[in-house]
Symmetry: C2
Subunit: 426 residues, 2 copies
Amino acid sequence: MEVKGIDGKLEKSDSTSADEISHLSIDIGGSLIKIVYFSTNSKCSTNDEAPTLSKERQEVPNGDLNHHILSGRLYFIKFETSKIEDCIKFLSSKKLQKCGAQCHHSHAVDKIKIKATGGGAFKFADLFKEKLGLTLDKVEEMESLVTGANFLLKAANHEVYTYIGGQKEYVQIDQNDLYPYLLVNIGSGVSMIKVDGDGKFQRVSGTSVGGGTFLGLGKLLTKCQSFDELLELSHLGNNRVIDMLVGDIYGGLDYSKIGLASTAIASSFGKAISENKELEDYKPEDIARSLLRMISNNIGQIAYLNALRFGLKRIFLGGFFIRDHAYTMDTISVAVDFWSKGEAKAMFLRHEGFLGALGAFMNYKDGSTDSMPPQLVEQQAAKRSSSCIVDRIHNSTHVQENENGATDCRLRVSSSFKIYDEVKRC
Amino acid sequence: MEVKGIDGKLEKSDSTSADEISHLSIDIGGSLIKIVYFSTNSKCSTNDEAPTLSKERQEVPNGDLNHHILSGRLYFIKFETSKIEDCIKFLSSKKLQKCGAQCHHSHAVDKIKIKATGGGAFKFADLFKEKLGLTLDKVEEMESLVTGANFLLKAANHEVYTYIGGQKEYVQIDQNDLYPYLLVNIGSGVSMIKVDGDGKFQRVSGTSVGGGTFLGLGKLLTKCQSFDELLELSHLGNNRVIDMLVGDIYGGLDYSKIGLASTAIASSFGKAISENKELEDYKPEDIARSLLRMISNNIGQIAYLNALRFGLKRIFLGGFFIRDHAYTMDTISVAVDFWSKGEAKAMFLRHEGFLGALGAFMNYKDGSTDSMPPQLVEQQAAKRSSSCIVDRIHNSTHVQENENGATDCRLRVSSSFKIYDEVKRC
């Protein structure tokens, strides 16, 4: 089976269609639909029996007989929002409605709910109902982002890294010194959220100059059709061809009195003012690079100003704009470093694009109206809490490297197939 | 005589070539050259006699016999930096070097200096020397901006206004409660300067997304050739055609929980992501409007964040990006209002584009090496200080309305044709 991933590329899907999808959440943004789902490898049953239990049950600290462990895989998939039909087809192929309804609660089809977040959870609610018989159970967008980020920051190893001088460096997060932090989610637009704890947050800022601007302007200026194509181009380009540098104004000199090197960008796209060139006279790769730098710089600057405003030491960046792209991360890092005079660092999240979908996933609550109840939590054997019975999201899987990349994972579910009220803290 | 003003338009010059230019300063930026000069209507003399004295001498409070008043006009002119030859021709036609040297100090031609600021004062120093025999006496760029702004804020009536709901409202500045303030100068790039007093300032921030970005990207996207043409276009456009609004993501709904109306821009240019349109399929006016809004919004936001950071109540905006353009001012005002939740207001300076040139003009100091020494100060009869002997820049003249617009003005010069060491405070 093939499904379309991001940007319309046809990709081989892991053959999960025969598997049982026990939990699925969806984050429908302005540009992208992000889906997280957990699939056991058990055959779908038609009664309320618990699915296959994991062999690892005995490994659970203070093993709780009221709970089962499901072994399976966690999948991360994305589609373009403009190609939502591909997403519908994909979900249809998974026969979620049958499985969800008949396996777990024998609900009528029209009562099946999946957790959904992002604006599209409102916009496309009718479409999902009509085409798939699914009700989108809405989870507030900022809440999802924060829940997803908190989960990853606390539960996932090697989740956070800095990118300085071309080097990734993983950061060990001290969970006792995590809050408050600034979460910068760069999707089509950018949200900046001050996070003070689980469920404690405030969207303090944002900017409309985000990933949608990069691709939107990029498509108009270069005729690139996809985000990744545009990123590839930018990698080959030279922004100095089109940006007006301090040295261009100062005759090659630094403006040292205010700390601006001759190579600093004085005006993004400023050289295009005076040159008798038309769009076609510029290389698309130079335009792409200038655009990426303008947007990355701007986000880094606004993020830093907001961190400063609230005295936040930590800035974590997520969202599908970053895509593990060296130049993007480098520019954001340099911007934060420049404006903070070295006092703040940009930190990136490996599961960057799936914060919202993961957060919605964590939102499954115990309750008869939820057809797919189990809760993803993470197991970290060395951790102190006996209630922490969650599988680690294995470090080897990075959603950026493979959009359909599956992560071996385990879920804890209650014996009665009801779930936790809340995410257990590890 | 015709000279080229901004954007290459040919404009009738006021026939000042026969007049005596007693003082001239120049601000050479990345995109524009701004010139401020004072011209008496007296014939150029060839000895050290003081020029024609003003009849208003007797009006000077506590009339100082050691000083003379020159009547004349203050001119504000701009050229594109890329067409610097036009500027050279213009200055050459004024025969500045002869007048300056022979009228005042009989300096050799190679000792004639004019006050110059902006990066071009470095970049084009040799060109001015070679073509005009003029030495550019450099005044630091931020210092010039601050000096010019302080002068205008203190001396000029009806200089400052807010722009809210399509209405200009002039603001009376309380000179005892002027400092500190944030000066936002929007040229090719943007500088943000915290001003604490005369000569007391710090460039605290800036952004490369400024006027150069608007025109640079605008030229590439619309084929407009001039800033004013692009502004005109934007006036006719509808940014909602190309910007992704909150309502586009949320199915027409507000995202009320975080205070975003359905009409708020979620992603600038974000609609271009998904539509199967090419650049040619969009109206240039819609693109121009989206671009203007993106940049104006962004500047308003970063300005506010910096004002907040330093606890600055007042944000004054200058630079040639604004151009008295309703939509630009409205967007910046709305951005500051939105992000500050109504606590801060953007205030605009009427002589917006000439802050640097005016500041350099004020920098003429007494000294034998200065060939054009007098100092522009302003007379405000009602003011308390007897040392304030400055002519008002008449309110009826607005540099935006007429690039070559001259302002009736008077200068105070010492009888020995030496000048004040510093700007006298009114």
